[in-house]
């Protein structure tokens, strides 16, 4: 090390990198290769698996039964992403440009729910939307409904729970993008005669695109694989790909099909990251 630092491989560098290579290699990359191999295998009746090259597990997704689940998952994940963007953008904008000296506190207030368990946040909505819960009593109080209505175990409940859970994932990258923004650019646009809305749509919003894309990926990818929220807030009509994967591994013991579904989620992630790198480049990746 010493003077040599920073140029090429050395014993010191090898020492620093060995633990992470072993751990992430053995317990992250190799397991992914396992499910890649399993996804082309054939499941036996009693849960065993024969390796081979069987594309059938991927083709099963086109079975109308599963296609419906995949379609529903994509619709719910996209809707969730859109709603998070719609709600999150104004708040990120508010904190970045109107937060003043309280910026740090305001963003910390967004981070706290982001750090609390997803499970507890879903449970909160189980209680609120439940039979005699606050939501039902509020609806009756306002005269919108006469008696308790079924709010929980519906697709709407799942989307509600998802928006609530994923909103911070959208706000944080949006804030990171907007916070770097040079307010003089807006002044320049307005000096040149642009209206406020025009300035927003032609200057501020395009410059915040890295945050919009990063936030959308951070919301879309996990919501496409979500299974806890539909498990707790959804019913039979809201089975998502995540639930299907869980069933294949823990109930049906069809690991080959489950692996194929999991690989598709991983492929979706790779696609999303490639999209991000093409649109934004790699420099901002650390901000994510």
């Amino acid at each position: 090390m010493g003077e040599e630092k920073g140029r090429g491989w050395s014993l010191g560098l090898a020492g620093l990198l060995t633990p992470v290579t072993v751990w992430l290699g053995l317990f992250f990359l190799v397991p992914l290769l396992f499910i890649l191999a399993y996804s082309f295998g054939t499941s036996g009746i009693y849960g065993g698996i024969t390796l081979g090259f069987n594309p059938g597990n991927y083709l099963r997704v086109f079975d109308p039964l599963y296609l419906e689940i995949v379609g529903r998952t994509l619709v719910i994940a996209l809707l969730n992403t859109f709603l998070c963007l719609l709600l999150g953008y104004p708040l990120a904008y508010f904190i970045a440009f109107k937060g003043g000296s309280r910026k740090n506190l305001l963003i910390l207030l967004v981070m706290i729910p982001f750090w609390t368990s997803l499970l507890l946040r879903a449970y909160a909505w189980v209680v609120i939307l439940g039979g005699n819960g606050i939501a039902n009593r509020a609806l009756q109080f306002l005269g919108i409904t006469d008696g308790p209505v079924n709010l929980i175990f519906t697709p709407q409940a799942v989307i509600m729970g998802m928006v609530y859970s994923y909103l911070p994932f959208m706000i944080l990258p949006l804030y990171a993008a907007l916070e770097k923004f040079d307010a003089r650019l807006k002044e320049a646009a307005q000096d040149l005669g642009a209206s406020r809305w025009h300035t927003f749509w032609r200057v501020t919003f395009p410059l915040s695109m890295p945050g919009v894309i990063a936030g959308s990926i951070l919301v879309f990818i996990p919501s496409a694989g979500e299974f806890v929220i539909p498990n707790l807030l959804g019913g039979a009509r809201t089975v998502l790909v995540g639930n299907l994967i869980q069933q294949q591994f823990l109930l049906a013991r069809d690991w080959a099909f489950g692996s194929a579904l999991a690989m598709m989620l991983a492929a979706l992630l790779v696609g999303a990251i490639m999209f991000y790198v093409r649109k934004v480049g790699t420099e901002n990746l650390e901000g994510v």
Binding site: K5, F27, P113
Partner: protein, 272 residues
């Protein structure tokens, strides 16, 4: 904003939109916190309802601490959290040092693997580890939970420590070496104290993530090992009860203490 002399002063979106924005932001903060607060509120309810307030009581907390299975889950969560955090913090810090101090072939690959581990859907990580552990013949339980928790927290520690390292002034280390300190002395007496806030913040993040993780643990825990989130999940599945609210409140308070502790270090990082 609006500090340019002479020319028109930038006024944001205008008065009415500004007020609308403030109102919207306030409502969104209410939306973010109200459900959690409702949860906490009803943990102190005197009746068995989680929805109708009948009076103040701490009986559910009493029931909570006399529940052996909850205490057992708490104990397991602590053992897993502390062990996984210790391992992940050491590995993550070493990795951050390698990535900030060295240029080497394969660095882009190392970077990509670390970011991939943070964004890979948890369910994919969970099932792939399950398949791997079963194929390797490892008994599912506390060991596999710890291995999995280290695997998904290393990257977060690396990212946090790296942020601290990249903002560090290298000249102090160079001075130490010029004065005759060897690389290990330099690291222990100069570098480590300087990056310690980052390392601590990384460790707190790892501990919080470990304490809160449900999805990955769900797949690798096997039968008989329940961490707190697994215990909470099975309780919710069994039925809504103020005991779950009490347990949620305890977990929330623990998380917040950790986050505020962590944010203290983050703020120092930002001011540095």
């Amino acid at each position: 904003m609006g500090e340019s002399k002479g020319g028109p002063v930038y006024k944001g979106l205008g008065k009415i939109p500004d007020r609308a924005l403030l109102l919207f932001a306030t409502l969104l903060y209410v939306f973010l916190y109200a459900p959690i607060l409702v949860l906490v509120f009803f943990s102190f309810n005197s009746s068995k309802s989680t929805q109708v307030w009948t009076g103040f009581s701490t009986e559910w907390y009493g029931e909570l601490i006399s529940d052996q299975s909850v205490l057992e889950a708490f104990r397991l969560s602590m053992i897993v959290g502390v062990t996984a955090t210790a391992i992940a913090t050491v590995i993550g810090t070493l990795t951050a040092l390698a990535l900030t101090r060295h240029r080497f072939r394969g660095k882009t690959l190392a970077d990509s693997a670390i970011y991939a581990a943070t964004v890979m859907p948890e369910i994919v990580v969970g099932v792939s580890l399950l398949v791997f552990f079963v194929a390797a013949g490892l008994q599912l339980g506390i060991t596999t939970i710890i291995i999995a928790h280290v695997a998904f927290t290393i990257s977060f520690v690396t990212i946090v420590v790296r942020a601290r390292l990249s903002g560090m002034d290298r000249s102090i280390e160079e001075a130490a070496q010029d004065l005759g300190a060897n690389p290990i002395e330099t690291f222990l007496r100069v570098t480590l104290p300087l990056i310690l806030p980052g390392v601590m913040a990384g460790a707190l993040l790892a501990f919080t993530l470990s304490l809160d993780d449900f999805v990955i643990t769900f797949f690798v825990a096997g039968v008989g090992s329940s961490t707190l989130p697994l215990k909470i999940y099975s309780m919710i599945k069994f039925g809504v009860s103020p005991v779950i609210n009490a347990l949620s409140t305890v977990v929330l308070v623990a998380t917040m203490v950790l986050v505020f502790g962590g944010s203290h270090f983050f703020m120092r990082k930002e001011n540095a």
